[in-house]
Symmetry: C2
Subunit: 393 residues, 2 copies
Amino acid sequence: MTESSSARGQSGSSSLNPTRSERAARMALSCVVDGGDPLVGDAVEGLGAQSTWVKLTEGAFGDPLVRRSTSVEIDRLERWALKSCVRFVIPGDEEWPEPIGDLRFAQAVQRRGGVPFGLWLRGPLHLARSMERSVAIVGSRASTSYGNNVATDLGADLAEQGVAVVSGGAFGIDAAAHRGALAVGGLTVCVLACGVDVPYPRGNATLFDWLAQDQLLVSELPPGATPTRVRFLARNRLIAALSQGTVVVEAALRSGARNTASWALECQRQLMAVPGPVHSAMSAAPHLMIRNGQAALVSTAAEVLELISPMGQNTVAMPRGAERPTDVLDAARLAVFEAVSAHRRSSVGNIALKAGVSVPVCLSELAALEGQRMVEGDERGWRLHQSQQRGLF
Amino acid sequence: MTESSSARGQSGSSSLNPTRSERAARMALSCVVDGGDPLVGDAVEGLGAQSTWVKLTEGAFGDPLVRRSTSVEIDRLERWALKSCVRFVIPGDEEWPEPIGDLRFAQAVQRRGGVPFGLWLRGPLHLARSMERSVAIVGSRASTSYGNNVATDLGADLAEQGVAVVSGGAFGIDAAAHRGALAVGGLTVCVLACGVDVPYPRGNATLFDWLAQDQLLVSELPPGATPTRVRFLARNRLIAALSQGTVVVEAALRSGARNTASWALECQRQLMAVPGPVHSAMSAAPHLMIRNGQAALVSTAAEVLELISPMGQNTVAMPRGAERPTDVLDAARLAVFEAVSAHRRSSVGNIALKAGVSVPVCLSELAALEGQRMVEGDERGWRLHQSQQRGLF
């Protein structure tokens, strides 16, 4: 592959689309270089993918990558992808999610970072359009039933509001979030740390089948790639950058979800966390992030929606308790009402003294309160109406 | 009582102490005017208690207060107090808690506010000294067992650290907090919305007996006074102002604890809230206050202590998970480690290719990893050491 090939490889692409060999170069890079490699990533940004590929094959990034590059067969990979309904999108494609470009400016976390060379996609959803309203829900594999319930509820409620639920397909919170969105027929996107054809973890194979059939599987790794710890860390940046915001439902202090959270902050995305019982180790990371001011506390999908929406849209009404009859009383009437005993009947004189009002005022307020069925009076005195027998706080 | 009496009523008080008739005037005001009355409070601030009392008896604050004032018998009250081991402290007394003066500058909440005329005390604790390190723990009467457990734990853990636990003696969170402090032999102070001799709620009568015997009951209301809703609201400001900070453990959106929280903010005290399950109505108010940025999220007594301590004291170490063996590996060794399969044995060539390092580097890293018992190799190839069979995240 040479730079001159960019002029030739135009077949089958519109004038707006990247050239075929730009695509081939990025595909080849995705096969040889692990996602988030800062050295090769910088070269692609500076020189373009084709020149970077040439330099790589010439040894600019070390012998191991040269050796790897010799095993790449782009034509065979493209045929396989076509047959397997897998597509490879790159910057400039209509389906390319522009916001992921923010990774260019994000400080590398654990020396991984940068914009992916391209994204392998499997499933019918349109990636860029799905991500226009999207929230990542992430958390621990070793989640509690509380966390799973919250993740499923959030996934379902957000999906019902037309928000795509992004997660990583892992056991626990990830799977619960995907399932919540699926349960209401909403959109959900799974970003993998392996090839889009690799069911990892195997226990979620059925889930991946559903997602491939009706939703979308996303990866920067080529088909067949297996997950490694480094790839999980690199994958987390894609979850954070693709979504408008990230919600951490449950996570231990040491967990991949915290890594995703760091990426959300690096990409200037809204970071949110769900609280839980203080004794639960699985709520330790959400509580820490809220306490530190890194994450906003969220309890409901409505609160999430408010935070990812433009200012003034989807605002949550300030919640307050139910109205009480006493709310609408003015000061004098409230004082009289408060001076009336629940059970023991009192004279007007005693009530006036206790309320700190004159007897005539007291009488007229009592009459008004009687009309509102808040007090009742007879010749023995006044007491609260039976409907008003209430506790003090 | 006249202004000239201030000169006469010196018997039994040191020169630093307020005069006897200043004390008598404040005592009389506490019997006639409900705590937090802004009009009479302002008059006391401006004119002093004795002049205010004279004006009150002359009708400056309305006929009802004049009528009430005629029933006040200070000498009888003082004799009763002496007999009942109840004392009345006023500004200038050694036991007067100076920080409560911050109520002078606090914006009145629900038109109640101001510094109390004096405080009725029952119990052996020294009020001012106890409040030097003090935290209010408040919350719902209708608390859950989760909330009660947290309140008891916080009360006990703070008391063990020498912090006095302030609360309101109500069912639920209040009682749980007092009991936590009592359980470890710590200090706890109960601020009532009735006289210090009135056991309200009656179900906590035994608790009040303990508190009167070993701890401290506090009220701005005279002996015998019964609670009203207005008095609860006025009482809440004392809880907030006496303490260095207020922790809301569980509270519905509509609750007295939120009123106490408002007072804590008005008095520039640290407001804290304990998170809980998002489905629990009793955690709705804490979550709202955290979400709004009014309250800091706290999970433990150590976190509370950090927030009420001077900067740099009692700081909580940034919590993090347990160290893993891989934490200390450099990039090349980690890459090699990650490229080794858990069960299937691989050749050095394959591992080098996967890790992106040269074969000599791979061999030396494998040898080092073998020394750390992280991988094991034989003539069939390399795999993870049995102690390292781990899941990916």
